[in-house]
Amino acid sequence: MSFGHRYDVIVIGAGHNGLICAAYLAKAGRRVLVLERRHVLGGAAVSEELYPGFTFSVASYVVSLFRPHIIRDLDLARHGYHVIPMDCAFQPLPQGRGLARWSDPDRTRREVAHFSRHDAEVYPEFSLAMTRMGLLAKAVIDRAPPVLGSLRPSNVRAWARLGRAYRHLGPHLQHVAQKLFTMSAADFLDLWFESPILKGPLAASGIIGTFKGVRTPGTAYVLLHHYMGEIDGAFRSWGFSRGGTGGVSMACARAACAYGAEIRTEASVSKVLVQGGRARGVVLDNGDDFEAEVIVSNLDPRRTLEGLVGAPHLPSRLTEQLRRYKYDGSSGKVNLALDGVPTFACRPSVGDHMRGDIVIAPDVDYLERAYDEAKYGTWSSRPFINAVIPSLTDPSVAPPGKHILSCFVQYAPYHLNQGTWQEERDRFGDAVVDTLASYMPDLKDRILFRQVLTPWDMEQQFGLTEGNIFHGELSLEQLFFQRPVPGMAHYRTPIASLFLCGSGTHPGGGIMGASGELAAKTILGHPT
């Protein structure tokens, strides 16, 4: 067989993880080609002008856990990485009340004290405990996971390192850690707080992107994500990327190109060529083929292995495991272009409370009800919404005086028990706008344009299987040394020279970049 072109490495998919992986490999001197199906780069971390003058962060909308060492390693700041911090998390409530949590602890205490004096004072203690837990989690997410059953020295050392980090916590925090990794978000928060109102938005961060309720065990540890930024020394890591989240991807792409990688858009890979248990190259939809020593896929595990490689090349046990691998996309996105700033009934001024996270999660029961509706296959009529108005902090995304309201919505189950998403899309969008309008009465009059992305749309548009934004459910049995499936946790696949670098590998989830980086290091044989 002869190939059109030869490369050292081909990266399939130019999501942020794929681009980071490519950049690391190119930096190490490899000849890298990145192939992207769409006309834009970034995968789900993408900015697109959907309506004239308005640049939307179509899918992923805030930058949170991006690993600071990647920014330094790839010199991303020089390539345009520019994140504006958010100062506030605002939770509008019915009956004209609202709760805003600020970076300043005293200001937050004063706000929370309206609902519970006890909670107001315990809040810093909770943050402290979570910061300590974050130090433990950092030991987990910044390295490739150790596996079970292997007595290889490096593996035993990795476990020992984790053991030390755990022992370092001391008995009290060890209890907290045990609880954190097994409890539900709501139960875990009950250990500290009494006010269901404060617990609402806190618990909500435990369910983002998963098809679980706030009372479902295993959601507590996701709360950690909010405290991870603090311990990286990168203050205020929560923020808007200037020009939309596509800006992060573009910075990664520029870095990759600067190191010598080649990126082709509108190059949809149809097949990975496997010969003798080795991946040899890829074939595009248009028939072009490329040869490479190593193929890295930024697609999710099922799409890569079943879609591009094909079941005949895979061990039957793996096919079975991939079938069981849970996706269960549960979230949707509603993007609105507005001709002015909407006002909240409870805090009518255009203030700093609108420049951060806006969370529609009035209390814990509200979230649980949203889940109860969705788990049988209907979208939540009163959903949990996480909204941001990036144009209030970043004027580059909308024309002067106009604004963007970007809403992440849960739950919207991929598998509907009645109807299809094409039929339900608009009704779902209406429900979201209605819910928001009950807090922002003037919202409906200001809408210029609306885009509703259902899990089905996300699958079509971004190739997210079943619309899962994390390339597979973040549930305990699919994490750490079991992500995506036991025995494949080291970015490797049963096909020699075919690697995974997407969110479906450890640690996965969010615009973190760690999967891409760790995959690159695995390929380069660097210790991780």
Partner: protein, 502 residues
């Protein structure tokens, strides 16, 4: 301080009784205090309105640790065990019934009448349970934490687990929900729902909730020894053994407070009437929530410890219904399960969460012969129902529990006795009304003695379903606590002798 007692055991349930017998056999002067009129706790038989004996709340789940109980010689006191697992009838929603027996091929045949693929998969399912059983048994029935040199065998054992594929499999399966776990094998909805029942008993959660698989596996793996006469027989024989070995049993006597000296050592027990009984050690065989929230004075406890104790979860979702019948319903004997289906059960759970009485329940049925009676455990009954447990609400609940059983009963129900989770809380001193005292959620299973989760008072030991060894595996915690106490006594005797010598 001289005292007629070496040890006071608070609570005369199965754990308390086994602790007392173990102590008395080691010549400890033991006093057992039980607040109810009879010992046995949840295993004690009740009474119907007619005066007939009603089956106890606790059903025999086959997890009585006979190996551990052997040295109590309960056989001498009238306990006989069967090492075969008795048949389990699963009543299907769509009519008909599957009988699960210890013989897998018989079960296969029974399932095959309804669904061919399920029948084939049953063998694999049963095989898995057998594969992980040893790992689970070691984890759950190990006699307790070890330090220093005694930890060595544990470490060696740990290394063996490390290489065991069953252990890896367990790690993957345990966090699954009952639904995901059973979906791997079965299609028949009510079979899945029936097999999922142990998950509902153990922890707060519906069939969609993670960690259901863990409890199903524990039940399947450890359920091996059934006793003749059910749990009431265990209670009776333990009480006989206690009396035989010289335990003083005081029923109708409630401990109000565990008295501690200022250095945190146990001094004795204060009773409800204000009288105090001195003793150097106490085994509290009652709910940990009662111990930490009522019996011990808080100023003797560490703040960090109290923080944990205050947040013990024990949300009971199980009601017990005892039915007196004309004759034994053969279709259900000796035990049966009935559940509407996975999704329907989850809906029941949602209803329960909102404080409503669901339409359908997951039922565990145990048939008693003398007098002919049924013991039914119904899952997803709210602890407090909206509007309170009025007589109408109770009637409605009994009616809905009974509805799926009606066709299988040989005659009319002569009398019935219903205990809602709230009743269980009040009658049996179970805060929250959970049958295992505290929920067996993974955090609470882990957080027990392994990491300093033993009572911080010297001479106080905890023995109940609420401890690590509790849950379905009754008696174990009593034995473990009694042995720990004896070991501590022996050690302090040795130390005293040593100091005297020098």
């Amino acid at each position: 301080m001289s005292s007629p007692w070496d040890t006071i055991v608070i609570g005369g349930g199965l754990s308390g009784l086994s602790a007392a017998v173990t102590l008395a056999r080691a010549d400890q002067r033991t006093l057992l205090l039980e607040q109810r009129a009879a010992t046995g706790g949840l295993a004690a038989p009740g009474r119907f309105d007619t005066g007939a004996v009603a089956p106890p709340v606790r059903q025999d789940n086959g997890m009585l640790p006979l190996g551990l109980l052997r040295h109590l010689r309960l056989a001498k006191h009238g306990l006989t065990a069967k090492h075969a697992v008795p048949a389990l009838h699963v009543l299907l929603q769509e009519g008909g019934c599957i009988t699960v027996r210890s013989n897998a091929s018989q079960t296969e045949a029974s399932i095959a009448r309804h669904h061919a693929a399920d029948a084939k998969n049953y063998r694999r399912y049963a095989g898995l349970a057998q594969k992980v059983a040893p790992a689970l048994a070691r984890l759950l029935q190990h006699p307790g934490p070890a330090n220093g040199i005694r930890a060595l065998p544990l470490i060696l054992k740990g290394l063996r687990w490390w290489k065991m594929p069953a252990m890896h499999e367990l790690l993957r399966l345990a966090p699954m929900s009952a639904q995901d776990f059973l979906d791997q094998w079965f299609v028949t909805d009510s079979l899945k729902a029936a097999l999922a029942i142990p998950a509902f008993q153990a922890a707060w959660g519906g069939p969609f909730y993670p960690f259901g698989a863990l409890h199903i596996l524990i039940q399947e793996a450890l359920s091996s020894h059934f006793v003749t006469g059910g749990m009431a027989a265990v209670a009776t024989s333990l009480e006989r053994a206690a009396v035989h070995h010289g335990v003083t049993i005081q029923t109708g006597n409630r401990a109000e407070r565990i008295l501690l000296a200022s250095d945190g050592t146990v001094r004795g027990v204060q009773l409800a009437d204000g009288a105090t009984i001195a003793a150097p050690s106490v085994i509290a065989a009652c709910s940990p929530r009662v111990v930490y929230q009522q019996l011990i004075e808080h100023r003797h406890l560490d703040q960090g410890f109290l923080w944990q104790a205050r947040h013990l979860k024990s949300r009971g979702t199980t009601a017990h219904l005892a039915l007196l019948l004309n004759s034994v319903p053969e279709a259900l004997a000796p035990r049966a399960r009935c559940a509407p289906g996975i999704e329907a059960l989850e809906q029941s759970f949602d209803k329960m969460k909102q404080g409503e009485i669901p339409e359908a329940f997951a039922l565990e049925i145990e048939v008693h012969a003398d007098p002919p009676a049924l013991s039914v455990l119904a899952h997803f009954v709210p602890h407090t129902v909206q509007g309170g447990w009025t007589s109408e609400a109770r009637r409605e609940l009994a009616h809905r529990i009974l509805a799926p059983l009606k066709p299988h009963l040989p005659g009319p129900v002569l009398s019935s006795r219903l205990l809602t989770p709230e009743d269980l809380e009040l009658d049996y001193q179970l805060p929250g009304g959970h049958l295992y005292h505290v929920e067996r959620s993974p955090d609470q299973m882990l957080a027990q003695p392994l990491h300093g989760w033993k009572p911080p008072a010297k001479g106080l030991y905890l023995a109940s379903s609420g401890t690590t060894h509790g849950g379905g595996s009754v008696c174990t915690s009593g034995l473990v606590a009694a042995r720990a106490l004896l070991r501590a006594k022996k050690q302090s005797r040795l130390e005293m002798r040593r100091t005297r010598r020098f």
